[in-house]
């Protein structure tokens, strides 16, 4: 086969990937199995209430942010798909997609400007009897941050899927007497399900691993990326940091994989 001769063109990228990612990852997994105080770090992690809480916090927060993101992104995506032309659409689109390129640290800072001690919300709520509302430096701020970076990603995926819904289907449902709500439930929602699963998985996975946002808001928040970072830098507990990283990596990858299979590969999780 003439195509075989091309295979060595793949070698540079493959070597790079194997040497700097695959083998180091295997190394990390092995370090996690190394014993400290007589048991492997995986057992330490699995037997510790503290790490389970951290994982639970991360999962619950990511799940909540993902659900909220989908609830908001669905009407926005539909709106953009049904209105392909109106004055100001381009500006609106740039407003909705600009934050895609922001790193987590910047998102964290924006959350502080919004809901921190000197933030907009604190300024607007100074009249409250309990003092101004400040919630940037904890779970509330992190939730807002996850929402901030998930929304642009999900809106893009959902509106692309909504554009592909055949208007004839909706027309037919209408002729058969289906009301607006029934058409939404019976026609649109099933058509959008793969996109919703794909976007949701992407948002969940991103939130699970988001380190920069939490790092900017407060290093006290008990979510897994921060726990890993603290184990590594503050306690130099490399086996536990390694074991936790492997657990986090596996959970994240598994969610993406399951969603990818459920959505039939159409969700475009991008990962």
């Amino acid at each position: 086969m003439a195509r075989r001769g091309w295979l060595w063109f793949a070698a540079p990228a493959a070597v790079l990937f194997i040497a700097f990612w695959l083998l180091p990852m295997v190394g990390l997994a092995i370090i996690g199995a190394e014993s400290r105080n007589g048991q492997s770090a995986y057992l330490t992690v699995l037997g510790s209430e503290q790490y389970w809480m951290s994982l639970l916090n991360t999962v619950v927060l990511s799940l909540a942010a993902t659900l909220a993101t989908l609830l908001l992104a669905l009407p926005v995506g539909r709106f953009l798909a049904w209105h392909p032309r109106f004055p100001g659409r381009r500006v609106l689109m740039s407003m909705l997609t600009f934050p895609l390129a922001f790193p987590g640290v910047v998102v964290g800072f924006l959350v502080i400007l919004l809901s921190g001690r000197q933030g907009l919300i604190a300024n607007l709520t100074q009249w409250l009897p309990d003092g101004p509302l400040v919630f940037a430096y904890g779970m509330g701020g992190l939730f807002l941050g996850y929402l901030y970076f998930s929304l642009p990603r999900c809106i893009g995926v959902i509106s692309a899927a909504a554009e592909h819904i055949d208007p004839a289907l909706l027309e037919a449902a209408r002729t058969l007497g289906a009301g607006a709500w029934r058409r939404f439930i019976d026609v649109e929602l099933p058509a959008l399900t793969p996109a919703l699963i794909g976007a949701g998985a992407m948002s969940f996975a991103t939130s699970m691993g988001a380190f920069g946002t939490a790092f900017t808001l407060a290093t006290q928040i008990d979510v897994l990326p921060i726990t890993i970072y603290n184990e590594f830098t503050n306690y130099a507990n490399i086996p536990v940091a390694a074991a936790l990283s492997i657990v986090l990596g596996l959970v994240t990858w598994a969610v993406l994989y399951v969603a990818h299979s459920l959505a039939g590969g159409g969700g475009g999780a991008g990962a």
């Binding site: 790079l16 640290v105 909706l170």
Partner: protein, 273 residues
Amino acid sequence: MNHSRIDTRIGTAITLAVAAFLIGPVILSVLAGLTKNYFVGLSSGLTLRWIGEVWALYAETIWRSFAVALATLAICVVTGVPMAWVLTLHRGRLARAMEELLTLPVAVPGLASALALIVSWGTVSGLRGSIWFIVIGHVLFTLPFMVRAAGASMTHADLTTLNEAAATLGAGRIARFLHIVVPNAMPGIVTGALTVLTLSIGEFNLTWLLHTPLTKTLPVGLADAYASARLEIASAYTLVFLLMLIPLLVGLQWLAARGDRRAPLPVNQKPRP
């Protein structure tokens, strides 16, 4: 009309609210970076003083980020474009598996990839303290975007046929790759390149663990400023970062609007915050 008036109204309201939520804080940040005293408000007047201070304090991180991004891009082009071509020619199970594997560094949290790099390569003298350590991390994270964008262009241009035609005319592999594959895949390569630059300039999760005090990049400097500098300087620094992103993003938008609609939009792929 398939959509009721209430439906449209709710859609408009939520869309505007979401747009305000996404862009409002950016405007706050830009204003804070240009205001004499943010706590007094805009009435204290506008100034470029904070931008000047950012330049004095952090210019080095800005240049370093450019250097890291360009080095990352060079490696991504040299390794990623040939890889994309091989994956375009081979559609079998092994090729799919390779493609999936390459995207793992994007799917797995950056913190884990960085720890793995440090554990395996951190002791190599001369590497740990150089910017190449950061470049390696960025290449792993951005390579899949280059492979995907270039590959989309190659499939789209039906290069397999062109390539076979050139082969019958006696052109060697390297000649065919350089004179047929690369020029025809150019739109995808450019899209991939802009994506790689955007991601590298903003990368934090890997870089925070990979950097040393002598190899701080822009996002690392931002994290420093957020933790310790006054709000106006942190905002001005953010503004400088946004100004660096804008040409890249405008370029991507332009390419997407003019280019093949079938190629996946890079903006829909995900950098990890």
